[in-house]
């Protein structure tokens, strides 16, 4: 009955033998540990989102992604999820260029690393810029809803997503709300009749800022204010990761161009930055599913 401590273990199977059982470098292992802790943070945020949403009573007013995210820059009309699909594609392709940069680094091919890393930085910058526009549009709102004297509610639609003078915009019409869920309803009212109803409203709720509803609850265009809170927190936290990833990749790009890693004999720094960058892509895959699709 001897314990582990008294067992003699050959030195070369231990770290004292000069090799790690993981067979990865210290830097890479620490990057993985950091990513696990970061993954726990993101998981907690998404699980918190699921908790809030699932706690709502049946028939609640939690909006659906394809109703909320339906605008494109410079274009009028509704294009459900197209913009966020574009953002997803940009991020996946910047992940691909990153893995190609890592591969070029393994061949000690400096020009290849520079080319692919440069494209990765560009892709990340496009993603962050796209998110700025999306936030802007989310805050501005796509149409909103009006509440009438008798408590009934209409969704306001127009092709230009105008929330200042919606009645003047092209394609203005109202849809009678069925329940509180964003944009749910089938009965359409158009033309002067719609304008007359709009003129008799007691409240016009639009955009992401919470307002008092006629029933004394706080809501914004999308329904429960928690929805917008989670949207800003989760996509904001992710967007900040993308932003810092772009900065890190840019610094590494300069170091590659100056030949720092070539002199060192390996491009592992590109690989470590790549791990972080892929992780950002990985998180987006989950945010995309749980925020925009489900």
């Amino acid at each position: 009955m001897s314990g582990e401590a008294s067992k003699s273990i050959p030195n070369d199977v231990l770290w004292g033998g000069g090799r790690s059982p993981f067979s990865v470098s210290y830097g890479k292992m620490m990057m993985w540990f950091f990513l696990v802790s970061d993954a726990l943070t993101f998981s907690a945020l998404l699980v918190g989102y699921g908790f809030a949403r699932h706690s709502m009573p049946p028939g609640g007013s939690w909006p659906m992604g394809e109703s909320v995210f339906r605008a494109l820059p410079f274009l009028h009309g509704d294009y459900p999820l197209i913009y966020v699909a574009f953002m997803t594609a940009v991020l996946i392709f910047s992940s691909v260029t990153m893995v190609l940069a890592v591969e070029a680094g393994h061949r000690m091919y400096k020009q290849g690393v520079i080319k692919w890393l440069f494209l990765t930085v560009i892709g990340g910058a496009i993603f962050v810029g796209s998110q700025v526009w999306e936030w802007g549009h989310f805050i501005h709102g796509s149409g909103g809803s009006i509440t009438m004297m008798d408590g009934s509610k209409y969704w306001v639609h127009n092709d230009e997503h105008d929330t200042e003078n919606p009645t003047e915009a092209a394609g203005f019409h109202l849809v009678k709300a069925e329940g509180d869920r964003y944009l749910y309803g089938t009965e359409e009212v158009e033309g002067n009749e719609a304008k007359a109803i709009f003129a008799e409203r007691v409240a016009y709720t639009h955009g992401a800022s919470p307002m008092w509803s006629s029933e004394g609850t706080i809501e914004n265009e999308y329904g429960q204010p928690q929805y917008a809170n989670f949207f800003f927190f989760i996509t904001g936290f992710h967007g900040f990761h993308v932003f810092s990833g772009v900065i890190i990749n840019f610094i590494i790009l300069i170091m590659v161009a100056r030949g720092v890693f070539h002199r060192r004999g390996h491009y592992e720094m590109v690989e470590k930055a790549g791990l972080y960058w892929h992780f950002v892509d990985l998180v987006w895959v989950f945010v995309f599913t749980f925020f925009y699709l489900v």
Binding site: F22, A85, H266, E271, F279
Partner: protein, 127 residues
């Protein structure tokens, strides 16, 4: 600064031109797969209401929703295993990363569903 107390595992990561070609092929295959899955997801997400007849929406949504979750996990597996090269690492480091995380998250999801079911029922009762 030279240090002789660190084994450079990173030097083992080098590969030849020939092997690089294979790896690049794999990368582009995975890319095509991820792009295709995302395209299917976006199409379903945007138009599932038009694809299925109105009276089956409640049941269809369950299938679409769980389909999204499964496809997401498949995508995540490919990103972690191929793009992050975790599939090429030793099994010991793979387990150290994935098992504790997986166990903890499964527990967190379980507890969140359990509790939110309760809150949901209470809100319904006292509304």
């Amino acid at each position: 600064m030279e240090r002789d107390d660190i084994i450079e595992y990173s030097l083992d990561a080098h590969h030849s031109e020939e092997h690089g070609k294979q790896i690049r092929r794999k990368i582009w295959m995975v890319t095509a797969f991820l792009a295709a899955v995302t395209a299917v997801e976006v199409f379903l997400g945007a138009y599932w209401r038009n694809i299925f007849p109105v009276e089956t929406h409640a049941a269809a949504w369950q299938w679409v929703k769980w389909g999204f979750i499964v496809l997401t996990l498949v995508k995540a597996t490919y990103i972690v295993m191929t793009f992050m090269h975790l599939g090429d690492e030793r099994r010991s480091i793979r387990s150290v990363i994935l098992l504790p995380y997986g166990l903890f998250i499964m527990y967190l999801i379980f507890i969140a569903i359990w509790e939110s079911n309760y809150v949901n029922r209470m809100l319904e009762l006292f509304q």
